[in-house]
């Protein structure tokens, strides 16, 4: 598999405290990558760095082998999509929330209309199209959030705990739907989660991040079943609980 995004020499600090320290990391074309780690391990910072939403400090970010500087940042960022734990919808209707990314790219009204209709359908929320985003349930809002990301047909999709605030049945349903969507579109995905079940179900490769460093990286099943010494402290107890 070829590398889609590569980061090198990333050293991000808050004052003297290291937040993220990654000498080199590759996100491969087509993979669904899980990221796990305790709170404050640097997961979100890693995501922001990969998604070009935070400056890489002295390090570098390459997209398809080309280094991304300030000039390219917007162009490359527009090939990505991000969905966070909070749906953070705008103060307008569901329709316009989903359409926003395409509008920002100045796409034609016709194209926007067709695509919004399509993704409303995929996420089973066509009936909510005209509803104001502030009047949605948590599960509905998160579906809008994901549709808003997927409509961009991103080359890389970044998900930062998008299911964690949902109740169990809602979560299961949405997780299943989302996995379907990602598989159908073959979207390269970075998925941050605290939930081993989600990780196991959704991802192919897993990295364990602790204290800003990648402690282990490998196929998801392998990492979960045999964590190395550094990762064991974090994974071990989880695995016990599941087995």
């Amino acid at each position: 598999m070829t590398s889609l995004i590569t980061i090198e020499n990333i050293e991000i600090k808050a004052g003297d405290k290291p937040i993220l320290s990654v000498p080199r990391f590759e996100l491969r074309q087509g993979e669904v990558l899980g990221v796990m780690g305790p709170n404050g391990a640097g997961k979100s910072t890693l995501l922001k760095t990969l998604a070009l939403l935070a400056p890489p400090g002295r390090g570098s970010v390459f997209f398809q082998g080309q280094e991304v500087g300030d000039v390219l940042a917007l162009e490359v960022r527009r090939k990505f999509a991000v969905a966070l734990q909070q749906s953070l919808l705008l103060d307008t209707s569901v329709y316009h929330n989903i359409a926003i990314g395409l509008k920002l790219r100045n796409r034609s009204r016709k194209e926007i209309k067709e695509k919004v209709a399509y993704w409303l359908e995929v996420f089973k929320i066509s009936h909510l199209s005209k509803k104001h985003a502030y009047h949605l349930s948590g599960g509905e809002a998160q579906r809008v959030n994901l549709a808003r990301a997927m409509i961009l047909e991103p080359e890389v999709l970044f998900l930062d705990e998008p299911f964690s605030a949902l109740d169990f049945p809602t979560k299961v349903q949405l997780l299943k739907d989302m996995k379907q969507v990602v598989e159908n579109t073959k979207t390269t995905t970075v998925f941050i989660s605290h939930d081993l079940v989600e990780i196991k179900y959704f991802t192919q490769r897993l990295i364990i991040l602790m204290d800003g460093e990648i402690k282990q990286s490998g196929p998801t099943a392998e990492v979960l079943s045999s964590p190395n010494e550094a990762a064991a402290g974090f994974i071990g107890e989880w695995s016990e609980l599941l087995s």
């Binding site: 922001k48 939403l53 960022r77 991000v82 966070l84 705008l90 990314g101 104001h132 808003r148």
Partner: protein
């Protein structure tokens, strides 16, 4: 009670008869106040946005000063501006004292802190993650700013409404820097003060009805702008 009815009758009379002096004063009031609030908005909106979004040294101090400025008594603003514009003052060469421009300056000075401060507050309250999310949706810097403006429009318009309320109601500064000169700087509030001092309570009341009507109409328009589309 009789006086109130008399005033109301007089107001209707004066408006219906199209009294040129009343029309002129009303028109000047509108022009001056709207210009002042527009300048305040054009300066205060970007300034408030920057203060709300960008963290830099001295920001807290500036915000504190702006909050103090919200309570700046108009007569104090009027006094400062008078001293600056006086023939013996540093800005005397512009010959602005006792002109409508001087009133606009004074009214801008008293409304600018309100617009800036309330805009800054609105933008300080914006979730940082929302900003990141909007960037992640592919927004350029300008698009980001426009979306944030739209998201904060309730609070921003509240600031503009509050600023306009201050400007249209203001009398002390307008009296001082404008001089209430007939045909030049007489506006509704200064006319009311003058008519009261002359003892013409019916005319003063009539003017007050006109003032309240235009204040109401403009505030209503702004409120409509603020609240529309909530119907969805």
């Amino acid at each position: 009670m009789e006086l109130l009815l008399q005033g109301l009758r007089k107001a209707i009379e004066m408006i219906l008869s199209g009294d040129p002096v009343i029309l002129e004063i009303t028109w000047r009031t509108l022009k001056v106040s709207l210009t002042a609030i527009m300048i305040s908005t054009l300066i205060g909106l970007p300034a408030g946005m920057m203060l709300g979004l960008i963290k830099f040294p001295g920001r807290k101090l500036i915000l504190t000063l702006i909050n103090i400025g919200m309570g700046l008594p108009p007569v104090v603003a009027g006094l400062w501006i008078t001293l600056l514009l006086w023939r013996s003052g540093p800005l005397s060469d512009f010959e602005l004292l006792y002109t409508p421009t001087a009133i606009i300056i004074a009214q801008t000075l008293v409304s600018l802190p309100i617009v800036t401060g309330l805009t800054a507050t609105a933008f300080q309250q914006i979730n940082e993650k929302l900003i990141m999310q909007i960037k992640a949706l592919g927004a350029t810097k300008i698009q980001l700013v426009l979306i944030l403006l739209k998201e904060s429009r309730l609070a921003i318009l509240a600031g503009i409404i509050a600023g306009f309320g201050r400007v249209i109601a203001e009398v002390g500064a307008a009296m001082m820097v404008g001089g209430n000169i007939s045909g030049e700087t007489r506006i509704l509030t200064t006319s009311i003060v003058m008519e009261v001092s002359k003892g013409n309570f019916d005319i003063a009341l009539a003017l007050s009805f006109i003032l309240m009507t235009i204040a109401f109409l403009i505030t209503f328009c702004l409120t409509y702008l603020q609240q529309r589309k909530r119907s969805q």
